[in-house]
Subunit: 213 residues, 4 copies
């Protein structure tokens, strides 16, 4: 069982290729892996399928990766910017906290929708391999903590219901959004209209925290 990539902080044996050709091959493998994983799922994806998609040999695969888990880590790594940190959109703070929440939710949901298949895959792998569950949990935790800080701030400013526990509320509401995104976009169960989902999520955040302003 290979250790997984840099995303988890676990050191890997394989280093990044130095030559241009090597970089190109590695990149092709990561791209191919994403295609195959999204098409067949993590478990059904075979290394031969990935190398076939990348038009290289199995041997070449092992030049760059230690195994399935590690390419998967590389796939996640390659998508993380787009996926995990959708980049806070330009929201004038002076439009009020509701606007910030709405913008934040929209940004998250847009990114989620764009990477829906990968997110589904990530969920699958997280349920299979505890190391990826840890990756998922860490990223969720970071997201939750940021939201918790925001909520606490709003409470301190007297703008939010002071009776809710900021950490737990942030977690609950974040899970609400991410899970709804998962079901609607990844599983394709339910409405796929983005704005509809943004609206509900935002309303439930705003109401839930009693953002009176």
């Amino acid at each position: 069982m290979a250790s997984i990539g840099s995303l988890t902080g676990i050191a890997t044996t394989k280093e990044m290729p130095t030559t241009r050709r090597g970089l190109r091959t590695r990149e092709a493998l990561v791209k191919a892996a994403r295609v195959v994983f999204e098409r067949d799922g993590f478990l059904n994806a075979r290394l031969v399928d990935i190398t076939a998609e990348a038009t290289c040999s199995i041997g070449t695969f092992y030049t760059y990766f230690e195994g399935k888990e590690e390419v998967f880590a590389a796939v996640i790594e390659a998508a993380r910017h787009d996926m995990l940190h959708p980049g806070m959109p330009h929201v004038p703070e002076d439009e009020g906290p509701a606007a910030v929440i709405e913008a934040s939710n929209r940004a998250y949901l847009v990114a989620y929708k764009r990477n829906a298949k990968l997110m589904k895959l990530m969920q699958q792998v997280a349920m299979i391999d505890p190391r990826f569950e840890e990756v998922r949990a860490r990223s969720a935790r970071a997201f939750g903590e940021r939201n918790a800080r925001r909520i606490k701030e709003l409470q301190d400013r007297g703008l939010a219901d002071p009776t809710v526990d900021p950490e737990l509320a942030a977690r609950a509401l974040s899970l609400m959004v991410s899970r709804l995104a998962f079901e609607c976009f990844a599983l394709e169960e339910g409405p796929r209209d983005l704005e509809e989902i943004v609206a509900v999520c935002t309303r439930l955040w705003v109401n839930g925290l009693n953002l009176s302003a």
Copy 2:
């Protein structure tokens, strides 16, 4: 690939045993399967482990089940009453909708906590086998629809925020509760104190729907 049990409505080849002895053996296998699945996960669970746990032979296993999937279906089936429909607790309607929601959430979370490992397993299998995903989705849908009806009723009675879409809100809030339960009880990430979670969930439902009026 075997078809899965009656839970899904899909017919299975193997019939229920008619004799007392057969019934006992089948039951032992289901119980053993639950133990092994919860301990090793669905993928790592081997049939030999299950039959060893049930102290019978592999052949006997195949007398009652067509494969791993089918025992798993039987495990779920055996736990469904306790798990999926925790039974509405006796809540005096006259204590108001908030009390009903709280009782409902508590009942759900209590049942979830009791079956936490199985719920985790179900999530895992649902991510692996689409037939079980369908089972999970169906049960979630039923739960969501029931809540949607309640919300609509409250809206009609002027007790809930009329601007939220009942279906989507019900879904979002249900997912919030179930996912929080999943993380806290199944993954054991976060607080495991039941009442704390009940409180937050209830508060967010109540606030979210603006039931304060």
Copy 3:
């Protein structure tokens, strides 16, 4: 591996049932076995299928037979009269040897056609189990020897080509008829019209032996 039935002369452990009920059950099993064997082939036929067809239990099967081979032997045994000794038809000897040959061929082919599926089965089993090959060979030998005697007689009477070896010619011509029957009736490759086949076989026998008379 059980020994096979009386047809082969090999003694079997199981004796014929003494009670009326036992006889009925045994008969039902033999009948069912023929149905299942003809439908699924010897290899694919499972004992459960046979007992299901006979509406009795596996245990009952072993009351009467020692295994698959033995029921098969019983099936053959039950069909042998019709199959192996089609009974010499009433052919006035004075119509000449050609008429005798024709009548003989017709009788054989009629019986073959009637039991085509069983004959195919017998071929299959003979290729699988040497003991049944021995059964088949013995019966073919008997047939061949009878024909050889006839040929020799015709040669002695100056009616047949004296240059052919009676044994080998009898064998060759017998094989010709039986194999043609096999292909046309059992495999259903080629013409299934009985008289057409009778005509060709007879003509080739008559010409082949130069039955000038």
Copy 4:
């Protein structure tokens, strides 16, 4: 159930190896398979025996074949030239049709005797697997048709009995030869002296078609 080789025209998943080493290994497997099949029969032959005979691993087997059936197809394929179309020997046409028939029969029987075990195997497999029965039938059909054309030609030239149906007679006489070959060489029942068999077969063909004229 794997599809069988190119002999049948059915496409196979596994491609021919490109490297020299691969070619050698595949060849070793085919050769080993023939040995094991001929020794143990198709049903008793285990893949381990074949790979042991070829001194390679089971995994290697699956690099080249999809299963037992497919190696068997390859074995047949490898032997087909020698077996199925023994190549018309150089027979001066002017020696008359009888000489052609004799030469043809001898060529066939010589080839048959050389591959007797394989022919027996082929018969066995044909009785077990309909796809191989189809292969056998096709090859027999081709042989029969060729002979039918010959007979018709002889009839047209007034050299053969015009009352026999060319197709059916060709089939009957071909079956006679092939079946006699099968019994004498494959089953080793009866005379194994080639010339004796050639003589009888030729005599019965010649007489049967009345080529004496």
